[in-house]
């Protein structure tokens, strides 16, 4: 893994609740990146969305963070980060990326400091070429391939944000077996222009463990064992998190990004 570009994967989403599929996305992405021979995935970050996102059935971030923590207890490279969920408002994905990149630069700066003081400057620069610590890792957004499709949904994304995400950071998209995300790429000029920064990862086992399906099964009293880690299932049962009631949360509310980016003025509200 020498001379490889260190890379950090960030996944944004509801994680309501986290499932084995979410963790698989990280494993698949890491394998793929390692096989390119160019990258070394050093860390995975899961950033559950803020409660203000106002998605139907979204339970409190406190629970979603704890469940994610439980699910990641056995992983030695993926962690959960509460920053996004602790903000006053819903934060656009690009701002979450910016935040984590700044954190990265700061921590990197501090880590580098002592080494620089201990030895002559020339040697430090020479070392920095081979030491992965000296290279600031790249931060990429990890997502399912359906995110490419959502880029086309009106008012969900700001054009300049899409551009910043794929130009400055980059995407690692895991696609379902049988789906071809290339189609969304060719349909968009922007995506085509930055396709070198979009890594497409093929899933070799069909995986449809959506959180929506999990919540539906839980409401019906059906088993979700082996789809969600045991520790998460016990937590859900203990706190009785997913019910008919919890599913009604934010019902009828407009998703925060749609509220924020929409420029259409409803004449009836005037």
């Amino acid at each position: 893994m020498k001379n490889r570009i260190p890379l950090i994967l960030l996944a944004c989403g509801s994680f309501n609740p986290i499932t084995n599929m979410h963790m698989r996305l990280f494993e698949l992405a890491r394998d793929h990146l390692h096989q390119t021979g160019k990258y070394q995935a050093v860390e995975g970050i899961i950033s559950p969305v803020n409660d203000k996102y106002a998605k139907r059935g979204l339970v409190s971030a406190k629970h979603r963070i704890t469940m994610t923590q439980l699910a990641l207890e056995t992983s030695d490279w993926i962690r959960v980060d509460p920053w996004e969920s602790e903000q006053e408002k819903w934060t656009e994905t690009v701002k979450v990326l910016r935040h984590h990149y700044n954190e990265l630069l700061t921590s990197h700066h501090f880590r580098k400091e002592p080494g620089r003081n201990n030895r002559p400057i020339e040697k430090a620069t020479e070392d920095s070429l081979s030491s992965s610590l000296a290279v600031v890792p790249e931060l990429k957004l990890l997502c399912g391939a359906d995110i490419l499709k959502t880029f086309q949904t009106p008012n969900l994304w700001k054009e300049e944000h899409i551009k910043e995400i794929i130009e400055k950071f980059g995407l690692v998209c895991v696609s379902r077996a049988g789906n071809d995300p290339r189609q969304y790429m060719t349909e968009s000029e922007l995506l085509t222009r930055y396709q070198h920064n979009i890594h497409l990862v093929k899933e070799w086992i069909q995986n449809e463990i959506s959180a929506t399906n999990i919540r539906r099964a839980l409401r019906k009293g059906l088993s979700v064992k082996y789809l969600v880690p045991d520790s998460v299932i016990s937590y859900i049962e203990h706190h009785n998190i997913y019910t008919e009631e919890s599913e009604q949360k934010n019902e009828g509310d407009l998703l925060q990004p749609l509220k924020q980016h929409s420029t259409i003025v409803n004449p009836l509200n005037d």
């Binding site: 084995n20 963790m23 698989r24 494993e27 698949l28 890491r30 394998d31 056995t74 992983s75 070799w204 086992i205 069909q206 995986n207 449809e208 463990i209 959506s210 399906n213 099964a217 059906l222 088993s223 064992k225 082996y226 789809l227 045991d230």
Partner: protein
């Protein structure tokens, strides 16, 4: 759940379990949910019976390891267990014989329980005791491909299929859009016993096949979250799946085909 008026069922799954994956474990969970929702059955136990080494399937590793992995995988389950009787036999056994053995075993353990109940009842001088429970019914749990294997020439004996369907019954997990119904319709044997075939819809597509797992292991790809962590650790510790292990039984005719051909 009221237990008194429900038929008790034990589910048996036969197969290679080479290695066991979350998919195998999901089959049991789906089947149990389905049978409970009918309101007619109560699933009291699930048994995993890995096939013996004499099955001679390509890439089949030693039963000891497959049993150990299945035991690790079922550790967190309150109702699943692994039985090594089939794999301890000297020769490959037809599935119907494995079913017969387990049904007999259930009868014996049940009558032992009843005897105990009867003795206790006598000691307590009870006139009415309700120990006379039926023996749980043993049903064969399988994936949809199993049904279709009935159509493979020489793999099954017709009288075995009939015995499985008449005496036990099938619980078959199928995928949305599959043609299990059509397959049953097109087979006279299956059609005449269709009341003893339960088709269970899988609501989350799951194709974590052991073949794919072994391939990924050979290629150094991650298989985490597709099987319990304990099984993964066992595979790594014993370095179970390699190019070499995949070549085991290469070119050898499968035991049932040798036997029935």
């Amino acid at each position: 759940m009221e237990t008194t008026d429900k038929n008790e069922v034990v589910l048996l799954a036969c197969g290679s379990f080479n290695p066991i994956t979350n998919m195998h474990l999901r089959l049991f969970e789906l089947a149990r949910d389905y049978l409970h929702e009918t309101g007619k059955y109560k699933v009291v136990k699930g048994i995993i019976s890995p096939v013996g080494d004499a099955y001679e399937k390509k890439g089949l590793i030693a039963a000891d390891h497959r049993i150990a992995m299945a035991r690790l995988a079922t550790k967190s389950s309150s109702w699943l267990e692994v039985d090594d009787w089939e794999s301890c036999q000297n020769k490959w056994l037809e599935t119907v014989k494995v079913l017969r053995y387990h049904q007999e075993k259930l009868k014996i353990s049940n009558s032992a329980n009843n005897l105990q109940d009867a003795q206790i009842a006598q000691q307590l001088k009870l006139n009415h005791y309700y120990f006379f429970l039926d023996v749980p019914q043993l049903k064969l749990l399988c994936g949809a491909d199993f049904l279709e294997s009935f159509g493979v020439p020489n793999l099954w004996k017709l009288e075995d299929i009939t015995e499985i369907l008449v005496n036990h019954g099938l619980v078959c997990i199928t995928r949305a859009g599959n043609n299990a119904q059509k397959f049953i319709y097109e087979s006279d044997t299956l059609w005449s016993h269709k009341n003893n075939i339960h088709l269970v819809d899988e609501w989350i597509t799951n194709d974590i096949s052991s073949t794919k797992i072994r391939r990924a292991l050979r290629r150094g790809q991650s298989i985490r979250y597709l099987m319990p962590d304990t099984v993964l650790a066992y595979i790594e510790k014993h370095n179970l799946y390699s190019e070499e292990s995949e070549d085991r039984n290469a070119g050898v005719v499968l035991a049932p085909l040798q036997k029935h051909a």
